[in-house]
Assembly symmetry: C2
Homo-oligomer: 250 residues x 2
Amino acid sequence: MGSERKEGTERRFATEEGSLRIHQAIARQLGTAILTGVHKPGDLFEGEIEASERLHVSRTAYREAVRILIAKGMLESRPKAGTRVLPRSRWNVLDPEMLAWMFAGEPDRAFIRDLFELRGVIEPAAAEFAARRRTGEQLDIMTRALEDMERHGLSTPDGRAADQRFHHAILAATHNDALAALASSVGAAVSWTTTFKHRKKLLPRDPLPDHKAVYQAIAARDTAAARTSMAELLRLALADMDLALMEPEA
Amino acid sequence: MGSERKEGTERRFATEEGSLRIHQAIARQLGTAILTGVHKPGDLFEGEIEASERLHVSRTAYREAVRILIAKGMLESRPKAGTRVLPRSRWNVLDPEMLAWMFAGEPDRAFIRDLFELRGVIEPAAAEFAARRRTGEQLDIMTRALEDMERHGLSTPDGRAADQRFHHAILAATHNDALAALASSVGAAVSWTTTFKHRKKLLPRDPLPDHKAVYQAIAARDTAAARTSMAELLRLALADMDLALMEPEA
DNA sequence: GGTTCGATATACTCATACAAATTAAATTTC
DNA sequence: GAAATTTAATTTGTATGAGTATATCGAACC
């Protein structure tokens, strides 16, 4: 036991695109397992030696993976006590990487609802701040994003990326780092919306006019209009979303 | 070179309270250095060997520290390219641990302002949701928190902890995990408010009536009143805060 | 029954060796 | 001479084994 590790080659893990270091791959694997409920809060992990052997990685790599998850509030580890999953309330569910893990698989519907509710709270206010504080450059970014959205349409990845860029630009234009930090969370919700709606083949409404209304309000520095138009955009998006979430899985 | 490591004892790092593992202590040290601008975005770190030797820790421990900071979006590392500080926009500034590092030292005033603005966006909405969805148990928690606040006063650590518990309970009562994840961010702002005001010796106003108004609205399930009373609480707190921030450092 | 104390399991730290990956330079080729 | 290709060098990444520190559990002891 110990001479079985001699190949020494091909130690990479494929993912959707590109490859990850081992520790990162393990972190993703464990993180996903926790998010999907394989390991529940309070559950105790096996020891480092067992775990690393079972996963066919070194203790070093495994430990670094665990460090990552601890940094995200998912795990806790103490000598003798072991490594255990923390209560959900301690997880940094807004962490960009964690959101990526969630949305790589089939994300929890309740959490999508929560994320949408958060959008509803954040984005109208953000739009108002953006209307007040945006620079010319930031407006240019929104202009281009909107153009790209129109050119590619929301059915293409390029179009969806442009959609995200638009919302991201608004948050950046608030000139508030704390709000801007929520960009990835909002982005995850944005991307999921169109993905979901598209999968359901129900594109009942062209979202572009809504976006343009927001854009024009921000361009005109009309704070009140920015807020209300963004709220309206979200209200409609949420309605579509709720409709999609109601139905059983395709 | 190599026989100098023989003592083998007393390898702990003291902090305000308790002790940290080495990797965590290094992570805190590096994280704080980045937050205070010692290492700026784009800056390249020294190599792992140099760094770990300079800090008198093993490469393993140093690397685990770096993994933590990477997990929080502050660093990036690639073979040959080295380890460098990411742009501020990539930092997870809402991460609880990161907030703790910030507020251990003298936090950036601009960021405090941002955090307060975030509170202004989040908490009124949260109060409204809480008024609609709170359970009896959650209301009990608020009740006790308010009692503790009244008993201890905001000048004591116990009182301030109760203040945080109150706001935390409201976020929990939204039954929205995404909103609840912002508890630590809001909490940091809450705690800094009273600390700051107290340091300045300007306690012009008893914040308890404001809190009671919010509490009663939530207890009565009056969503509109919950929102407006929370907004009012924050408006007043912000006014005090701005006043304190205007003045030069004591 | 509570308290102290010791054994034990577990994560933590260290040191060293080697592998992989990426950048940069050197070389070839057109 | 410029572009593509190969080579080399540097840095992080992974593996392994030995030893340390610490929290928990159980037993002995008030």
